[in-house]
Amino acid sequence: MNKQLDIHRNSDAMRKSLATLGSSLGAIFLALFICAVLLLVTGKDPLAAYGKILETGFTSDKFVEMLKRATPLIFSAIAVAIGFKMNLFNIGVEGQYLFAALIAAEMGTHVSLPAPLHVLFILVVAMVSGAAWASIAAFLKIVRGINEVISTIMLNYIALSFIQWLFETFFRDDSDGGLNVKTTKIAPSGRMPDLVHDRLNGMFIVALLVAFVFWIVVFRSRFGFRLRASGLNPIAARTAGIPASRMILVALMLSGAVAGLVAMPAVIGDVYGYGPSAIATQYGFAGIAVALLGRNHPLGIVGAAMLFGFLDSTSAELQLSGIPSSIVKVIQAIIVLVVVIVNEASSRRYNRRTAERAAMALKSLDARL
């Protein structure tokens, strides 16, 4: 009998993955359709726009660029997903990664270590800084019960001002001259080697590694089980001896630690320092969209980050051919909206079907007895 049940199980898991993939793909096509309507309304030719996106997107250059653009999104989305797994909405990834970028870039100039250790040191500093910034929100929640949504949003603003002050007062290095001020350049030993010369660096591999570790930790470890239990039913978890406040602290700090890596592809792979105009912003918010699209699952997140990276990589070309590049952002936003709606509907349907199948299985079990 057990064998039969196992088959039942495997086909079940498969069915779930297929259903998820199917509904996500369907949502993406629906979103593209909605965007086409929007383009038509604004007097542009949607076929030409999509044609351009495909044409430019599927060149080998663009493939590398897609991976590059996906890298920070993977970090950011995983940071968000760690929070989501415990029903914590960390909107503060933005502040956490920018803070971490500055601290890590600066600290990286103060040590001299052999190459791999130097890189590792900077990454660890970035993670610790991100975690430290996130822990403020955690403490506020644990001690005063302040909702993390509010506190992390507010902490973003504080982080921006704080970073600016730190940078202007202590870390600014004008020796390079020019308008594009940065921190002191990180020595070559602290730089991440490139995978594709000047276009993709090793942080992409680190991102995949983080995604894998995320999977192991969240879905397979004892800690991850406690994390998910606290998210699935915090009261039941508490009753079963899982301390709520410690879980909140650890989850938010882990989220912040991963967030700390978001700007690292630039900091140690491209800019070799931190500069207000050299480090891109907004990844923290894009990460929320990617996490939603990827359903907080590592595979989904990597896929969703690639899709976003792909769309982003085509925006310059679109601009050149007279199609507003903002259409890319519109497509992304609509995809996320549609996916969230479709996900909700399909998970309800999945739940209903699961219950029906279980009832059927019980009936046949009954009949055999």
């Binding site: 397979r220 004892r222 079963a240 209903r352 279980a358 009832a359």
Partner: protein
């Protein structure tokens, strides 16, 4: 009964005798037993009880009648007219009102405001409370309910809240009242009051569908009783023609489990000792005040009490979830300063009040639910040992007779009784020394109830101490070696279950003695 009603009414009540007629209703519904070919005629101005085990299909049937579900086949006729309800509002418009088991009232609003909420009478777009007040007053008087319309709901007791729910439904013009387990939350004295009101309602021409599994009450209040078993109607009988035992047999379809005398003895060692336990509350009365008791090895202490008299807080305090004054000793060792995890490791186990709220992760699989609280033992290094966890869950399923296709289905597909068996099993699996069992059989069918009782008894015989918190007096009387009554945060009496009766308990539970 309301002249303002805009709904077309039959001129004479005698035109059609069957105010509700369900014909061959079938419904396949995931996770619970389907309704199969259910036919039911309900006479006007009568109390018609629907009894059956939990999961027998009573709720499904009532949800169909109330428009929450649509039947796969079969028809519903109200006052002789075949109708289809696509939503509760359509059912309400046809004069069907439902009083749910869990009250749906706004605590901060007054009685009057709650009653009119959602159907506020207005004049020129402005709320006109005066008219509403008069109508509600009349309604209340006509069924013999005395209630201050200006009190906030938070000041009312459970019985009065229920009366507000009933008035709310009547205010909307309900002529057919569906009461879902109305006595589950009431003490015997309140039940009597409710029955007086219900009889007046019927005298005024209202028809009542009374869903229950408490057979004595059903026998005393109903004009007709329909028994449902496994989705089908077994029989419709008159209460005069059957007795409790006969009814129970119809319900279960087999012989009933009996309590039976215990053959083992209470031990000598004290496993749980509570001294002067007080749970502090800010800005209100302490929910638990100066409670002391000991539980010996192999002893069951029953805590009887109306919900909300400090039992919940007492359990939380014993578990280590709230700050306390006083001491708690587990197995002779002071546990007052231990956290939840440490207390569980000391051999404490807890069957929570509400399996959905405190016990289960509904979206997670059964084996993950079985793992909750045992993750420390069912892992290898820092990793969960999935194989061991699944095996342990299969053992629980086997031993406690959880009806499920496998341990891999999510918990929400199980019926309430099977979910409860899983929760009980999870907590008994590790042979705890002390079990806190809060409403271990609430809302589950007779079969599951017997299984849970059997396992609790078996563990008790093996030496486990049990603190049994229950509102089901039959359960408290049947299982306990001693009974403590909790009222208003304090222990108001210690009784011997051999001499106590539900009536005596009821008096202590309501503070009348």
């Amino acid at each position: 009964m309301q002249s303002e009603s805009v709904r077309p009414k039959l001129n004479s009540a005698t035109d059609v005798v069957n105010v509700v007629e369900l014909t061959n209703i079938s419904k396949s519904f995931p996770g619970v037993i389907a309704n199969r070919d259910i036919s039911l005629q309900i006479d006007r101005a009568t109390i018609h009880a629907i009894v059956g085990e939990n999961g027998a299909g009573k709720s499904t049937l009532m949800k169909i009648l109330y428009g929450l579900h649509q039947p796969d086949s079969g028809t519903i006729a109200i006052n002789g007219v075949v109708t289809q309800f696509k939503s509760p509002s359509e059912a309400m418009a046809a004069g069907i009102g439902m009083v749910h088991q869990h009250f749906m009232l706004a605590d901060n609003l007054t009685v009057l405001e709650n009653i009119i909420l959602g159907s506020e009478p207005t004049k020129y777009g402005v709320l006109s409370l005066g008219d509403a007040r008069k109508r509600v007053k009349d309604l209340a008087t006509s069924i013999g309910v005395e209630i201050d319309l200006d009190l906030p709901i938070s000041d009312l007791g459970v019985g009065q809240r229920q009366r507000v729910e009933i008035l709310k439904v009547l205010f909307r013009g309900a002529e057919i009242l569906v009461l879902d387990e109305p006595t589950a939350v009431l003490v015997p004295q309140e039940v009597d009051e409710l029955f007086v009101n219900l009889r007046k309602l019927v005298a005024n021409g209202t028809t009542i569908l009374f869903i229950s599994h408490k057979l004595d009450e059903v026998l005393s209040i109903s004009d007709q009783i329909t028994v449902i078993r496994q989705g089908s109607t077994v029989a419709t009988v008159s209460p005069k023609s059957v007795d409790r035992l006969k009814l129970a047999e119809l319900m279960v379809g087999s012989d009933l489990p009996s309590h039976g005398e215990r053959t083992t003895k209470v031990g000598e060692k004290i496993l749980l000792s509570v001294r002067n336990l007080t749970v502090l509350a800010k800005a209100r009365k302490n929910p638990v005040q100066n409670v002391s008791f000991d539980i010996f090895e192999s002893e069951i202490i029953g805590i009887a009490g109306v919900d909300g008299n400090g039992q919940f807080e007492l359990c939380e305090a014993l578990l280590g979830l709230v700050d306390i004054q006083g001491t708690v000793e587990l197995g002779g060792k002071d546990a007052s300063n231990l956290n939840v995890r440490e207390r569980l490791d000391q051999g404490l186990a807890y069957i929570p009040f509400d399996r959905h709220r405190e016990g289960l992760m509904l979206a997670a699989s059964l084996w993950e639910n079985g793992l909750l609280g045992h993750e420390a033992t069912l892992s290898r290094g820092p990793m969960i040992d999935v194989k061991a966890a699944r095996k342990s869950c299969r053992e629980i399923i086997e031993r406690f007779g959880v009806m499920t296709p496998s341990e891999l289905v999510p918990a929400f597909v199980l019926s309430g009784g099977n979910q409860q068996k899983l929760v009980v099993g999870r907590n008994l699996a590790n042979t705890p020394k002390v079990l806190i069992a809060a409403h271990p059989t609430r809302g589950i069918d007779v079969g599951a109830q017997a299984a849970v009782w059997k396992e609790i008894r078996r563990s008790r015989d093996a030496g486990m101490s049990v603190l049994l918190v229950s509102a089901d007096l039959e359960e408290v009387l049947g299982l306990s070696d001693r009974i403590l009554v909790m009222f208003d945060g304090e222990i108001s009496a210690e009784l011997d279950p051999k001499s106590a009766t539900p009536q005596i308990l009821g008096k202590y539970m309501t503070g009348m003695q």
